[in-house]
């Protein structure tokens, strides 16, 4: 953590001032500083592990995710606990939990990334337009954003997911629809303050067109913010997908997702707790990883946020 220690306030302030980005931060330096943080590295490791597991699921998984194994149930028809023949045990239908977790990682990551990408895109467009154009378009867009803030997000998502037959893509779109608001507000604030800076005024005086200013000057300055929010946002979407799937309105069985593995097995969780807590721990770790990386990115890319840590 970059701390302003009381012993050397001048250097710290000076360092902060010189690092304030007039141009977007050089990516190489940022990456190096990022990799020096242990927590960020831990986050990267988890993400790499999950991505690896998802990509190579067909190679790693010992069984097909929806194969009901005869030897996967005890003589009394109960699921097998972890260890023994099955690394993570089996579920109520005698399917191998480890294989389902691997394929479930595909679902969770896919929805996390797609939903968050779409949310980021909508949020950026709304925020930049409202912040740069101002006027009545800006007013309308921001009032609409306020309106969306008043919606109970989870309730809205559940409603939407239940209304449409939930498929993978529908769930991703639903999550995107309730999640773009935060990005829009942040981007809006940033754009309005950017639009008042001298170099934008100078560009205008030089006769640059609105589109040129927007794409060559405003958007590049927003990149660090978008990287930070994009990373933190994935953890929100991963949690939301898991919650929807847990309630049974997310990704539908037999497609495995970490949330619906818990949904399918929760009635039996007192007898077979691993069926709830292994996927639960996976969701937590993945969300934690994106939060840690996002937070480290914020420290590295946005010096104005420093000093509080």
């Amino acid at each position: 953590m970059a701390r302003v220690t009381p012993e050397q306030p001048e250097e710290a302030i000076l360092a902060e001032l010189t690092q304030r980005p007039n141009a977007p931060v050089a990516p190489a330096g940022a990456l190096r500083r990022l990799l020096r943080r242990k927590l960020a590295l831990f986050g990267f490791a988890i993400i790499a592990l999950v991505v690896g597991g998802a990509v190579f699921a067909p190679l790693i998984a010992p069984y097909a995710p929806d194969e009901q194994l005869f030897e996967g149930l005890t003589l009394f028809g109960e699921p097998m606990p972890p260890g023994g023949g099955f690394l993570m045990g089996t579920d109520l239908l005698g399917r191998d939990l480890f294989s389902r977790m691997l394929y479930g990682a595909q679902t969770s990551l896919l929805i996390g990334v797609v939903a968050n990408g779409v949310a980021l895109l909508i949020g950026t467009i709304v925020g930049v337009l409202a912040g740069y154009l101002r006027g009545w378009i800006g007013a309308v867009l921001m009032r609409f954003t306020d309106l969306m803030m008043a919606f109970p997000a989870l309730l809205l998502a559940i409603c939407l997911a239940a209304i449409f037959q939930p498929s993978l893509w529908i769930v991703a779109m639903v999550i995107a629809l309730v999640n773009w608001v935060q990005t829009a507000r942040v981007v809006y604030t940033e754009t309005t303050s950017l639009a008042e800076r001298e170099f934008i005024a100078a560009e205008k005086t030089l006769g640059a067109s609105g589109a040129r200013i927007l794409f060559k000057h405003i958007l590049p300055h927003l990149v660090p913010t978008l990287i930070v929010w994009g990373t933190l946002g994935i953890s929100v979407t991963v949690l939301l997908e898991a919650t929807l799937s847990f309630l049974g309105v997310g990704v539908q069985p037999p497609t495995p997702s970490w949330g619906n593995i818990i949904f399918e097995n929760q009635t039996y969780f007192q007898a077979a707790p691993w069926l709830v807590f292994i996927p639960g721990a996976a969701i937590l770790l993945l969300a934690l990883a994106f939060n840690l990386v996002g937070d480290a990115l914020r420290d590295v890319l946005d010096p104005t946020q420093r000093g509080n840590d």
Partner: protein
């Protein structure tokens, strides 16, 4: 002040109007037909048509919306399709349980969050601080239903300290309230820490220490009140997050609140109830934001109303 209040009230009313319209449109385009749900599978086409007319569902959308809205401003939220009871009665019956749960959740969130935040700020930069901040990230990354099931498994099933679910006594409230509060406590501990660190840097704190007061006294009497005030005002903004959280927590613990009511209504396409709960939640969120906006300048005179 009065002008600002008026402007904010009008704004809030417009937001609620917008929320009601959007929800109505969404539910109107619903592919699942509520009339089929009410009539049952064996109903004849004639019965289905009769029910549709009775409920006014054969009218154009804007007419239906106008009817709903004019009822709503008079406090009439319509009747449940399936339970044939006034929606307002159903919500009123469930609301106390949800409010109790939310109060418990806010209490837990503040107790855990603020304490950890203060400790982290005092031990700033040391391993304890770093450990607490990692813990706060774990708290905000933990899915509520997993936390709920974990607490149930450990404290109700294994240890038997608390009941496995249900509603009624104080011990029923503990696990759901903690579940609801944990995520927020992560955010609060981070905010409290920043706020406290900020205050501890001020000159007046150094003055207080210099005139010979003990660390503890400076911390509790001089730093804490200033650091805590901006945080307290955040509670109003939290209401929205809680409104989502109660659906999950009530479902895990079988808590009979409006979250369960909404969840059951969504599954049965009971539109008036869905509308009603959405409107109540949105009103709570808008009210929370209003309160936050008005409480903040009252407790912190540096912030002025525009």
């Amino acid at each position: 002040m009065a002008g600002y209040l008026f402007r904010r009230l009008v704004q809030s009313a417009l937001i609620l109007l917008g929320v009601s319209f959007i929800t109505f449109v969404l539910l109107y385009v619903l592919p699942a037909d509520p009339v089929r749900q009410i009539a049952g599978r064996s109903a004849t086409a004639q019965t289905v048509e009769n029910i549709r007319q009775q409920l006014g569902l054969d009218q154009p959308m804007l007419v239906q919306y106008w009817r709903y809205l004019s009822g709503l401003v008079q406090g009439d939220m319509g009747r449940s399709y399936l339970q044939k009871t006034e929606v307002s009665t159903l919500i009123a019956a469930r609301l106390p349980a949800s409010l109790l749960l939310m109060a418990g959740g806010i209490g837990c969130e503040l107790m855990i969050g603020l304490t950890l935040g203060i400790v982290a700020a005092v031990f700033r930069g040391r391993p304890l601080d770093q450990g607490l901040m990692v813990t706060s990230f774990v708290a905000v990354s933990a899915p509520q239903f997993v936390v709920g099931l974990l607490l149930l498994y450990v404290f109700a099933v294994q240890l038997g300290w608390f009941p496995i679910g249900g509603y009624g006594t104080a011990s029923h409230l503990v696990l759901p309230a903690v579940t609801l509060g944990i995520m927020g406590s992560g955010w609060y501990s981070r905010m409290m820490r920043s706020s406290m660190v900020e205050v501890l840097r001020q000159d007046y704190i150094r003055t207080a220490r210099a005139k010979g007061l003990t660390r503890a006294r400076v911390l509790i009497h001089h730093a804490l009140p200033n650091a805590i005030l901006p945080i307290i005002a955040m509670i109003g903004i939290d209401i929205g997050i809680f409104m989502g959280g109660i659906v999950v927590v009530e479902s895990v613990f079988g808590w009979p609140g409006i979250g369960q009511l909404a969840w059951q209504a969504i599954q049965r396409v009971d539109i008036p109830i869905i509308m009603g709960v959405t409107m109540v939640s949105a009103s709570a969120i808008v009210l929370g934001n209003l309160l936050a906006d008005f409480v903040t300048p009252m407790i912190d005179p540096r912030i002025k109303l525009r």
